[in-house]
């Protein structure tokens, strides 16, 4: 019963990722795509968490944290890029 619940939630997450991918491909502006990628990252976090529960291990918790950090940094970098044209500004 519990297993079925887990798998069901994984399937739902997969559907969410697919819909996000649709936005990445279609998205009229860059900002749409960045948003979609960010939410894919969050979906991945959820997916890995459920997977860890399903496999009964806590070896992947670091990975969850890492994805969180990376998707945050990536989104910030893109935001800066869209806003200012460069990611890292040089001190003049």
């Amino acid at each position: 019963m519990f297993d079925i619940l887990m798998i069901l939630s994984l399937v739902i997450l997969t559907c969410a990722v697919l819909l996000n991918i649709f936005r990445v491909v279609k998205g009229p502006s860059s900002a749409d795509r960045v948003q979609a990628l960010d939410s894919i990252g969050i979906n991945l976090i959820a997916g890995i968490a459920i997977f860890s529960v399903y496999m009964n291990t806590h070896a992947f918790f670091e990975l969850i944290l890492l994805i969180g950090i990376l998707s945050f940094i990536g989104t910030i970098a893109f935001a800066r890029f869209i806003e200012r044209g460069v990611v890292i500004e040089r001190k003049r």
Partner: protein, 803 residues
């Protein structure tokens, strides 16, 4: 090291000392005066060997060189080696004396000259006295190298360099062939000693490698001795200083091939291949050289072609003489061995008169400034001594009495007539052709000897056409060596049997040991066919010489391209062109092509190995079950990969490549590899960021988005590689040949105190790899830093120029 070894190696030792002598004494005394002591010393020492060797006591002394390989400098001094040694050191001494007066001590680089000459002399002496075939080969090549150096002595001249290069290419080509032949002989007999090879002659003659060894060794001998068609290097070698031409290219080096054939005759003699090859090539060379000699206008070129022709004569006699080994000791063996005797005798005679003639030509060149017979004439009254020597030399070469050439020419006719009577190797028509061809060649020989004698010395003196103003007789020092050689020519005619008894017969005995009785040379042996042939040569030769202007035009009808030189240079040119165009055809400079070669090679090797080893054998019994997650991630990866391939947009390609990377992270997750997943995640992010950076900095022109062009070859190659690797992986994972060693690493906690096996392997069990990978990252970081820093410094000017 025995005294004999010291004698033979003395030239090498002297060659080391020469530059020091040159530096300290040359401004007072000509360096040649010191050098001449070396050949004189050797000559005297070899003369002292005559009594024992003519009694049949051959000397064998060994000196270890590479004992573990049984390559030792073994000296075997028998009659043949002694005769060659005497020629080399004797004429060597005369040539050095001659060169003292020929080479100016202030203008010429004498230290170079004498070092090369001494190197050559030592190599040649060692070559003829060595018993070990590999030492023989080493010194054989050393003669080629020192000859190369000597021909190009005046290296500022283009012709010298070209002549040296040609001689080098041809003789080294032959030398390498000879090495192969010698190795074959070693393989058959399992010994490096020439004497033991001769003792095991039955073994060689029964072997399947007999013919290849024979051909290869003959190739070496023919190239060195300028036999047809390898004779082309000799006329071009005449760019060397005249003492060199006299020494190397008439008396010694070109006879190394003759020596080799004589040495090998006991091994190969008696076979039809050897007989016909040596006789046939010898006669052709004799004919070709004598006909070509007539056309020459340069005296040295004339002498070069005459040398070729005379070497052909000696070679053909050696061929006829090899028939002696077909018979058992007795009357017919004696008969054919006589041809060998004639060959050896003519070899000796040729060294004397050809050396003298070259020196004469050198004197003419030295005193008048030219060697062109069209400008020379009437030197008889100005240079009487030189003329006398030229007279002796050229009449001896033509085969007239009372000179030694007459004796050997008569013996040559005898030998050739015997060749026509050979009934053992069938081919009668060829056998009958030999004496006729030889006789015609002798007529031509007579004609060019007359040209050599008449054109420079008789006729009218034309001082206005000569480069030098005051023409006079040469200094006495320059005349002494040719006078000695000329008087030898006459002396040998009157007392041939002293030479025969002490030098020639021991030489023959070292080729044919079981002769019945030694040979005697007689100047007069009745009204035989030989005498009529000689008379015919003289009469016809005189007639043709008088009418030379009438029939010489006939040569002009022959096209100029129909000569061996043209063939040689055009084939060299063609080879260069072909190889350049071949290289250009596959070295296109396009990385795509090179990648295709690499991939095709890899996949064909793998596929071939799989097929030939019959290894395509799938075994799925050990495989795990496939879960729904595996299939899902795999499908997503395939979609991402195909998107990368077929997208029109570069940024899509980058993003889908990133997607592949993140899907791999998911794979690592479900295959339970948390550390890998972590690393892969970070690395993939960094890589994608770098790709985006690269994309952003593409030049404006390149940013035009294009679809990847379709190429059928690419598709085929990529599919083939993919299929091959897939099959290979499937095959390899299906067969575990032995149990994996993972069990050992499961002890990580007891052995290393670590609960994480992956990290324990990385830093403990296999920490060495990790260290080096850290080094790789370090190098990459420094590399990136330097690339950016150095570029930004230097690029200011570069970019300004290009833009």
């Amino acid at each position: 090291m025995s005294f004999l070894h010291f004698t033979i190696l003395l030239p090498f030792i002297a060659a080391i000392v020469v530059p020091f002598i040159y530096r300290s004494f040359n401004h007072k005394i000509h360096t040649g005066w010191f050098v001449v002591l070396v050949p004189v010393f050797i000559f005297i020492n070899l003369l002292l060997q005559i009594p024992s060797i003519s009694n049949g006591e051959n000397i064998l002394i060994s000196m270890p060189w590479i004992p573990s390989l049984e390559i030792n400098f073994d000296i075997y001094m028998d009659g043949l080696a002694l005769m060659f040694g005497l020629i080399i050191s004797g004429i060597g001494a005369l040539v050095v004396i001659y060169s003292i007066f020929y080479m100016d001590k202030n203008r010429e680089a004498l230290h170079n000259f004498y070092i090369y000459l001494l190197l050559f002399m030592g190599a040649m002496l060692g070559l003829v006295s060595s018993d070990n075939v590999f030492v023989l080969y080493t010194l054989w090549e050393l003669t080629s190298v020192s000859s190369f150096l000597l021909i190009a002595y005046w290296y500022e001249r283009k012709k010298s360099r070209e002549g040296a290069l040609k001689a080098m290419i041809i003789t080294v080509f032959g030398g390498l062939a000879m090495l192969a032949g010698l190795i074959l002989l070693v393989m058959i007999t399992d010994t490096y000693s020439l004497r033991e090879m001769i003792a095991n002659v039955d073994l060689i003659q029964e072997s399947a490698l007999f013919i290849p060894a024979l051909l290869l060794i003959l190739l070496g001998a023919f190239t060195k001795s300028a036999q047809f068609p390898f004779s082309i290097w000799l006329p071009d070698a005449m760019e060397a200083p005249t003492p060199v031409s006299a020494y190397l290219h008439s008396a010694t080096m070109v006879k190394a091939g003759i020596y080799l054939v004589a040495r090998m005759t006991p091994i190969f003699g008696g076979s039809a291949t050897w007989f016909w090859l040596v006789v046939g090539i010898g006669v052709i060379t004799l004919f070709y050289g004598s006909v070509r000699a007539i056309r020459q206008t340069d005296l040295k070129a004339l002498l070069a072609f005459s040398t070729i022709s005379q070497l052909g004569l000696i070679m053909s006699l050696l061929g006829v003489g090899s028939a002696a080994f077909y018979f058992n000791p007795g009357e017919s063996q004696q008969l054919y061995a006589f041809a060998l005797f004639a060959a050896i005798f003519h070899l000796f005679n040729h060294s004397t008169f050809k050396g003298a003639l070259f020196m004469v030509v050198g004197i003419i060149d030295h005193e008048t400034g030219t060697r062109d017979i069209r400008r020379l004439g009437g030197l008889l009254s100005i240079m009487p001594i030189t003329f006398t020597i030229a007279l002796i030399g050229s009449l001896s070469m033509a085969g007239l009495p009372p000179f030694n050439g007459f004796l050997s020419k008569e013996m040559f006719f005898t030998g050739m007539l015997q060749a026509s009577e050979v009934d053992m190797f069938s081919l009668e028509w060829l056998a009958n052709g030999c004496p006729i061809l030889a006789w015609i060649a002798s007529i031509f020989t007579f004609i060019y000897c007359m040209i050599l004698l008449v054109r420079p010395f008789l006729g009218t003196f034309k001082p206005d056409r000569l480069p030098k103003e005051k023409v006079h007789e040469a200094p006495i020092g320059m005349l002494i060596p040719p006078i000695i050689l000329g008087s030898l020519v006459v002396l040998i005619f009157f007392f041939p049997n002293i030479l025969g008894q002490y030098i020639l017969n021991p030489a023959i005995a070292s080729i044919v040991p079981d002769l019945e009785k030694p040979f005697k040379i007689t100047a007069w042996h009745g009204f035989g066919p030989e005498l009529y042939m000689t008379i015919g040569v003289i009469v016809l030769g005189l007639l043709l010489f008088v009418s030379i202007k009438k029939w010489n035009i006939a040569f002009r009808v022959l096209p100029e391209n129909l000569n061996l030189n043209y063939l040689y240079s055009s084939s060299l040119e063609n080879m260069e062109k072909r190889s350049v165009s071949f290289t250009n055809r596959y070295m296109t400079g396009s990385i795509r092509h090179y990648l295709i070669y690499i991939f095709v090679f890899v996949f064909s090797v793998l596929a071939l190995a799989l097929i030939t080893l019959n290894a395509i054998d799938f075994d799925f019994s050990n495989y795990a079950y496939v879960t729904i997650y595996d299939v899902g991630i795999l499908l997503a990866m395939i979609v991402a990969a195909l998107t990368t391939l077929f997208t029109r947009n570069r940024i899509t390609a980058i993003v889908s490549l990133g997607a592949v990377g993140y899907l791999v992270v998911m794979l690592f997750v479900i295959f339970r590899a948390p550390d890998l997943a972590l690393t892969q995640m970070v690395v993939e992010t960094a890589t994608t960021a770098l790709f985006l950076l690269c994309f952003y900095h593409l030049p404006k022109l390149g940013k035009k988005v294009e679809k990847v062009k379709f190429k059928l070859t690419n598709l085929i190659v990529s599919i083939l590689v993919g299929v091959t690797v897939t099959i290979l992986t499937l095959v390899a994972t299906g067969h575990k040949l032995f149990t994996p060693i993972t069990e050992f690493f499961e002890n990580a906690y007891e052995l290393a105190g670590a609960k994480n096996i992956v990290n324990a392997i990385l830093v403990d069990f296999r920490g060495f790899d990790t260290m080096l990978e850290i080094a790789v990252l370090f190098i990459a970081g420094i590399g990136v830093y330097t690339l950016i820093k150095l570029r930004s410094k230097g690029s200011d000017t570069d970019e300004a120029e290009t833009e």
